[in-house]
Amino acid sequence: MLDLLTTLDAWLIAPLTDYAFMRRALVGGLALSLAAPPLGVFLMLRGMSLVGDAMAHAVLPGVALGFVLAGFSLPAMSLGGLIAGLLVAGLAGSVSRMTGHREDSAMASFYLISLALGVMLVSLRGSSVDLTHVLFGSILAIDDTALWLIASVASATLLVLALIFRVLVVECLDPLFLRGQGIRGGLVHGVFLGLMVLNLTAGFQTLGTLMAVGLMMLPATTARFWSQRLEGLIGLAILIAMVSSTGGLLVSYHLGLPSGPCIILVAGIAYLVSALCGRYGSLLARVRRRAAPLETDEHTCKPS
């Protein structure tokens, strides 16, 4: 029994009590897990799951420019990323409105340009090690400034999300109702995209620009297998993200692997397991439903 406790302590607690960088990474990861998954839930429900991915690539040139101008400074790189992300989102939106083409094709074009520009900028200045840092993150580099930044972004995101929650929900279901009420859907959409870019830039320190979107989308898509209610989806997504961040960090510590991919892979495993045996829409749920007896719906069968 004592052996078990000692092993558990060595695996789960000791890395956090022994090393300050692990504690910082954990707090950063948990803060991100509070803010990013609710955004992911809305992205998923709006059929924009891949837009998050596109935006994660789009922030790269800004991050790279911050890196070229100020070295490995988180505020500079985050600000650069934020500007680049908003610029790409704005450009894609305007080109789509002007040409009448679908927004996703404009978004794809701009993020590819953006990505190439970003990789070019980093390689002009730094080594491939720097590029790896920017692309995949590094928990060792999380300092107090980074923590403050992540915590502020997470708090601001939750606050703004709470303020626009009702509008966002109604806009997702029936945008015309909202337009009829005199609310501009474009404004809500813009604020939402802004929040997303903000979270991606806050997340890249821990997870890297390419992985940051994983903590947003995977918990959301996983939660879909377990809940059919919006509150349930959001709560579960946050929980899954928190468990993945903590689990992923510990795995990366013990096996000496990069933290970003570890965290996302743990979330990925949760997704795969849920797809197999979740409560709604999973493989197992489908098999079970096929075996269940016929259900009659009293309300639709009511005689007129």
Binding site: L163, D174, L176, F177, Q228, R229, L233, H299, S304
Partner: protein
């Protein structure tokens, strides 16, 4: 003075003129059927009345504030995979009084339950929209407009894909709303429903519009149906000159 008047309205969609020089006064407390072939401009006209499509020329005079105008779109326009319950959908009808921030109070819930009972939705408050039948969903959407206390109600083919029980409830509710003074405009394709429901008909064809008596339209339809017994000619194939205009409007 009537709440809704169209004055020499010309409307275009994607650079193509759809309706030209449309005028008409919609009577308060009446149910008007908006009738026309596919592409005749029914949805375009609804958009213009809702204030979502600026006219090329002419004007929509509408004495109803934006918040009290309700539009029941075709069911396909809604994202039914969105995890929202009947209760949440209906409460969103409180938007004019509650906006983004105000909390729903006990009286809102009471009002909602009364409306749900009236629409035969009792016990379905927490059911997700995706699990409802077409008829139940249509009743829930009408419930939202009742919560909204709409004074101008536009419905786009509300009877498509719904059961007869729902059709009856919808017709009764629309009649009650009209009796209470609301202006109701319904896009209709079905002659039987038109005969039951409409007080007057606004017929769109060839980019123009004309008021016609429901009875006249029905007679023409039956005559045409007898002539084309094998092919079942739809009434909407009528051209404007075929139908004598109504004198009352």
């Amino acid at each position: 003075m009537s709440r809704l008047t169209l004055e020499a309205l010309t409307l275009a969609q994607s650079g193509r003129t759809v309706l030209e020089n449309i005028s008409g006064t919609f009577e308060d407390g009446a149910i008007t059927a908006l009738v026309g072939a596919n592409g005749a401009g029914k949805s375009t006209l609804i958009q213009a009345i809702m204030g979502l499509l600026p006219p090329l020329s002419g004007k929509v005079h509408c004495g109803v504030s934006k918040e009290r105008r309700a539009w029941l779109p075709q069911q396909l326009a809604l994202d039914l995979t969105f995890p929202m319950s009947v209760e949440e959908l209906m409460l969103s009808g409180c938007w004019p009084t509650h906006g983004t921030f105000k909390r729903y109070g006990p009286q809102d819930y009471r009002r909602m339950h009364t409306i749900m009972q009236r629409l035969g939705l009792s016990g379905l408050a927490h059911r997700p929209l995706g699990e409802l039948s077409g008829g139940q969903r249509q009743r829930a959407l009408l419930g939202r407009t009742l919560m909204q206390e709409a004074e101008l109600l536009l419905l786009d083919e509300p009877f498509a894909n719904v059961d007869t029980h729902t059709v009856e409830i919808l017709c009764d509710t629309l009649r009650e709303m009209a009796s209470a003074g609301a202006t109701v405009i319904v896009v209709l394709h079905d002659m039987e429903q038109l005969a039951k429901l409409a007080d007057c008909v606004f017929l769109l064809a060839g980019g123009h519009a004309q008021w016609v008596e429901p009875e006249t339209l029905l007679e023409r339809h039956h005559a045409s149906a007898r002539r084309h017994a094998h092919t079942q000619a739809p009434f909407i194939s009528l051209n404007l000159p075929d139908v004598p205009p109504c004198s009352t409007y």
